[in-house]
Every structure is written in C-alpha cells, then in structure tokens.
C-alpha cells in the first residue's frame, strides 16, 4: 500500500488560501455584519420593516440584527421626519453608539426635511449628525434601502482601519 505524503500545504484537504491585507479582512467582517439601529420616526419606518421582512430580507446582507439599543448598533437608519423636539434625542442616541458607526438618512424627510418646510421640523438630519448615505423617496422602496446598504458596504470596505490605528499609536508614542 502506497502512501503519499505531501510536504507543505495541501489545498485539497485544507482548502484554498486567500491572501489579503488585515485592513481588507477587518472591513470584510464589518461590512457583512452591520447591525442597524432602526431610528423609526415616521412612515419610512414601516418601509424599513418591509426591508427586514421575508420578501426583501435584509439578512441577505448580514444586517438582520436590528438593535434597539444604540450601544449594540453600528449603523443608525434614520427613517422618518426628525422634528426639533426629537432632534436632541436622535443626537444623544447617535452619541451613545460605539465607533465605528455610520448613518443612513432614509427618505426625503430625514435627508432634507422633505415636504415639511415648517417651524417644527429639522431640515435634514445632517444638521446634527454626520450622514453617510442619503436615500431619496417618500418613502423609499425597500430595494432603495438595500441599495443604500450595499453602498454603505462599499464605503466600509475602503476604510483604512489599520492605518488609522497606526496613526493613533504613533500619536500616543509621540
């Protein structure tokens, strides 16, 4: 009986090897497990529920874990009209989210105030928190939300985590 011993790595047994950078690997982990914080403020939140439900199924993108606690969320989806009364609450919740964090402004109201040009409504949530992705629509279709999520994933996959960490380290040593 003949035995064959291969020296080194056996890809038939062990699987293929992927060579990558740590940055890219970390970003790949991050972008496929974005945990959204559903900041549902108006009718866009209904559409956001549809995104989470089976027909559109946000879990295809690894984002099905809607966290209602900001401390366990990566991405705040501001879905709806931000009134001035609610503005500081939205800001406080955003501040409680741990880094790294992203924001999607879902729909016309969250992006610009929409049709509510009035004394009561904040004219775009970007007045108080930094927004990564804007979605048009009133309310947007669920496909549009998924498209925004894919755009956010594309953005996350280019973020230079390691360089940032090194820069911070260098600053600390300095």
């Amino acid at each position: 009986m003949r035995t064959e011993t291969e020296i080194g790595y056996n890809s038939k047994i062990e699987g293929d090897v992927v060579v990558t950078r740590v940055d890219a690997a970390l970003n790949w982990f991050r972008k496929n497990s974005v945990w959204p914080m559903p900041m549902g403020l108006a009718c866009c939140a209904i559409e956001l529920m549809a995104v989470g439900a089976s027909r559109f199924d946000i879990s295809r993108f690894g984002s099905e874990v809607m966290r209602f606690s900001p401390r366990q969320a990566d991405c705040m989806i501001v879905a709806g009209t931000v009134t001035y009364k609610m503005a500081m609450c939205v800001k406080r919740i955003y501040d409680q989210m741990p880094e790294p964090k992203w924001v999607i402004a879902m729909g016309a109201c969250a992006s610009t105030g929409g049709m509510y040009r009035s004394y009561a409504v904040l004219q775009g949530v970007d007045n108080i928190i930094p927004v990564d992705i804007y979605i048009s629509g009133c309310p947007p279709r669920p496909e549009a939300v998924l498209d925004a999520l894919m755009k956010l994933q594309a953005k996350i996959s280019t973020q230079p985590i390691l360089e940032n960490l090194m820069a911070v380290k260098a600053l600390q040593n300095h």
């Binding site: 001035y84 500081m88 049709m115 040009r117 009035s118 004394y119 409504v121 004219q123 007045n127």
Partner: protein, 192 residues
Amino acid sequence: MSALESAQKIKAKFGDLISEPKEFRGEISVEVADAEQIAAVCEFAKRELGFNYLVDISSVDNYGEDPRWTVVYHLRDIVNVVEISIKTDLNEEKSDIPSVLPVWRTANWHEREIYDMMGIRFRGHPDLRRILMWEGYPYFPLRKDFPLAGKPSDLPGIAFTKPAPLEGGPFVTVAGGKDAISREPRIRNPEE
C-alpha cells in the same frame, strides 16, 4: 331634540348672553357674549341638554381685529346624534378663559393644545403645559403673526429651532391664479 331646539333652550336659559342660533350648511352655532360664562353654558348644555361628548375645542386667530381670539366648542349628543357648536370671543390682552375641564374631562388635552399653539390660557386647568412643542419654547406657532418657516430659538440640551427655507417650494401656492392648475401648490422658484 334637534340642534336648533337645543340652541333655543340655551338662549332661553341665558337670555341676552347668547346670540340668536345661526345655521350654516345644516350646522347650528350660538355665540356667547361673555367668555367668562362659557363654563356655565357648557355645564348647562351637558347636564340639561345631553351634550355628553366634547368633540373638540378649536381656536381662531382673527388677526388684526378686536377681539382677536374666537374659541369654538364642538358639542355632540352621542345618544340622539345632535351636534352644536358654541363660540365665544376673547381679546388679546386677556387671553384667559375658564376651563371646561369640570364639565368634560376630555377638555384637558384640547385646552393644552390651544394653549400650546395659540397661547390662550385656561383658568382652572390643573396641568396647563405645552402638549406638542417642548416646555420653554418661546412662541405660539399657530398665531397668524408667526411665520410658517418658524423663528430661531435655542434651549441648550433640550431643543433648538432654525427657520426653514421656504423659497421655491415644495408647496408654494399662487393666489389669484387663473385656474386650478396654476394655483396648485408645487415647487416654484422665485424668478418664475
């Protein structure tokens, strides 16, 4: 008992305090000359005439006229399905009217809303706080002299407001347009 009969009974009870019942599109309203008596009139309408449901209280800003405010009480008899409205005028210097909370408890939030939006105070209300805007907001937004765009305000840590850009839209109406299409609210840039 019809709405007109109810109105006449109120008139018979209070005499000159109450105006002749007015009918507009099948709806009956009476005016109370003295706003101080509104609670007594409402009490009578509920206890004696069976208006057991206060549908709403609304307030009108007759800006530029005196008296400035009109407060309208919309009453309904749920059993016999009769509706009537009671109006009373109030001048701006006073801006103070007895609460009808002892008559209908539902008046609580209606009166708070009027206080919030119009700045009319209700004497005897146990909890006259703002209901839509936040405590400390300095304006009354439904007054005619308050711009739709709003005014700047700041309450650190609680809320701030900035005027909204109204120029161009999205819902600019043109008064006196020749037809409904040219009048309808839409995005209109100032130069057009």
